[in-house]
Symmetry: C2
Subunit: 398 residues, 2 copies
């Protein structure tokens, strides 16, 4: 029962041809090339002896035969626009080759992890967290096509949606590129994921008074943009005193209204988020943020309000699964692996709600992700495949 890493790499490169864009791929969810890739993948599952199909939301499930303890493994097949060839494809092909090696593993491909239409609609559908009403409502975020239309054009309309059989599986495993440069920076080959960080995303709105930039004295102003700058500078100063070791925080957008050179902004809207695996850290930072907003409202002649856009829950990897993967990593790459959190979201975070779940990372060259230059060395891909297979074997042997 040995995994064939040459065939694994050959399948990865075969998949790369669907929507090839420079050295990456352009394979948006439910585009023609994405559906071709899905059908090709179903064909490969069947060649390996699995019973496979595509469901009403684009998910693929490949079921193996036989009794006894069984795992589920997988990831997603579509890509961001003009993005990397590995990303989710890696975890799908790795799952295929777990099954191909003879391990009792079912293979799942979750649709639209990349969010062209919604937020994790594939893994949420599979775990019972996606209502029909949400499918009715969703549309493509780039070109606006309703999800229902896309599903009909893809020939998926009316198909039932696969639902997870919890009792069938001992655990879920997902292999993925790191999407950062922690592994590469330390010369490591494998990351055993301790958990997937939660993202707490906030909208900060500051209301001031729009006015003429020439005739309004500094003392008279109620400048919403300036109040935003002062608040963000205070966050920059305070957060390092309260954050965790791996916390990250980001201001992705600052929009001033009306945004003209000679008009004092009457309104500022800021998108601000932080991420951590530890709920205590997330709560502590929320308290700091609320205090800084309150201080702004005492100090400034503007009114700042804080709105939680989404406060997700960290998905902690199952400790026994982590141990199995860590043991496999130490056996196959002694001293060349570490435990680390995932700073990005993955389908595994939804699977973790219904069964033990864990993830394995391989290095990203230069930390590049969501760009066509994304890449990982073949030997790192092969090592990841072997560690995943050995980890799966250990989980099943427990």
């Amino acid at each position: 029962m040995m995994v064939d890493t040459d065939r694994f790499l050959a399948d990865l490169h075969a998949l790369r041809r669907f929507g090839a864009f420079r050295t990456g791929v352009h394979r948006p969810t439910f585009s023609e090339v994405d559906m071709e890739a899905r059908r090709w993948f179903v064909g490969r599952l069947r060649e390996e002896g699995l019973e496979a199909g595509i469901d009403g939301v684009g998910n693929i499930l490949g079921r193996g035969r036989g009794e006894g303890p069984r795992l589920l493994a997988g990831s997603h097949l579509e890509s961001q626009n003009e993005a990397g060839w590995l990303d989710g494809a890696l975890g799908c092909v790795a799952a295929l080759h777990l099954a191909a090696s003879g391990l009792p593993v079912d293979v799942a491909v979750f649709a639209d992890e990349e969010g062209h239409y919604g937020s994790f609609i594939g893994s949420r559908s599979f775990t019972g967290l996606l209502e029909e009403a949400e499918i009715d409502r969703l549309a493509n975020r780039y070109h606006g096509k309703p999800l229902r239309d896309a599903l009909r054009e893809a020939g998926l309309e009316g198909e039932p949606r696969f639902q997870v059989e919890r009792d069938r599986y001992r655990a879920f495993l997902e292999m993925h590129i790191e999407q950062g440069r922690q592994l590469e920076g330390q010369g490591l080959g494998i990351g055993v994921v301790t958990g997937i960080v939660a993202i707490w995303q906030w909208r900060i709105v500051i209301e001031g008074a729009q006015n003429h930039a020439g005739t309004t004295t500094m003392a008279e102003r109620r400048d919403a943009g300036l109040a935003a700058v002062r608040l963000l500078a205070a966050i920059d100063e305070e957060f390092p005193r309260h954050c965790g070791e791996r916390t990250v925080w980001t201001t992705g957008r600052i929009a001033l209204t009306p945004g003209a050179p000679s008009i004092i902004p009457g309104r500022a809207e800021v998108l601000f988020q932080y991420r951590d695996v530890d709920v205590d850290v997330l709560r502590r930072l929320e308290a700091v943020l609320r205090r800084l907003v309150a201080e702004s409202n005492r100090r400034e002649r503007t009114v700042a309000t804080l709105e939680a856009m989404s406060l997700s829950t960290p998905a902690v990897s199952d400790p026994a699964l982590q141990e199995a993967l860590a043991g496999a990593a130490e056996a196959l790459a002694p001293g060349r692996w570490q435990r680390m959190p995932s700073g990005a979201g993955h389908d595994a975070q939804y699977l973790a709600r219904v069964m033990p779940a864990a993830m394995l990372f391989v290095p990203s060259i230069g930390g590049v992700s969501h760009h066509w230059t994304e890449d990982t060395a073949d030997e790192d891909l092969a090592l990841g495949m072997r560690v995943l297979a050995e980890g799966a074997r250990r989980v099943l042997a427990d």
Copy 2:
């Protein structure tokens, strides 16, 4: 030779009907209502005995008969979108009533001071500072119509452009609403303008590295948005130590690229300006700004560059004209006037290049400007008209 303030107010209210919008007007340059207003104004000039017409760029000139010393007075007729009824209309109707009162005054209406198509195209054309090539190039900033098309549709194509006869005039006078709340706040009725501030407008571009907001550690980041926030916070701290008494500075726009919640901004673009009547102050603040940008580039892992978008020259009011207007104000409103700079730009700044020029301000209720709620009390309008007429009489008598 007395100015009739009742007729002056009646004409102001008559003009208010062209493009009436709530209590203000919507009279964009070369719109149908704007052209109707211009033709109505030419008619009024002719009724008062002036020889009047509209030129190839929309300017109106009303010329009186007779020998001897003569003044030019005026302002602009179009409005910002959904803006106030007075603004430029006030100075035009005031100029009309200087002539109507029998004073040797020519009346000028300068097209598009509000910048729907360009920057002061009317007063720049009149003073010889507008090339045909610029007219070819300009288009409406809101709907993109080329200026040439707008001029043709307005029936002005091919008309010659009026050029100022410098020897004909002793001085230029412009009456305008203050557009701020300095006069109202101090209970004053008249502002004698000492000069029009210069605007030094800068574009600050910060280049960092766009990256994933979850997988990139704080230490690895080159966050252009954060560098912009720190630079703007430093400006907020430093400028009060170096500015003049009436300096104002404004950040009107902050644009982060790509502007998504989960992506570290790779680029920030900031529009920043300051205004003062004193060139020494403007130069001192430029030195402070350049120092802060250099400090940012030493401190941050991003690269900030500073680009001067426009560095205008302050237009100082002619001292003798200021004296004449100040004498008139003290005679008609003893203790209820002050000298003050204009924080906004006006046609007078271009006229000041070819002849002595000065301006008179009346209060703006609540400081409101460029909004349909803009207003001034009738008694303040009438007082302004009387002071302007008495000032004109004194200038001509010198």
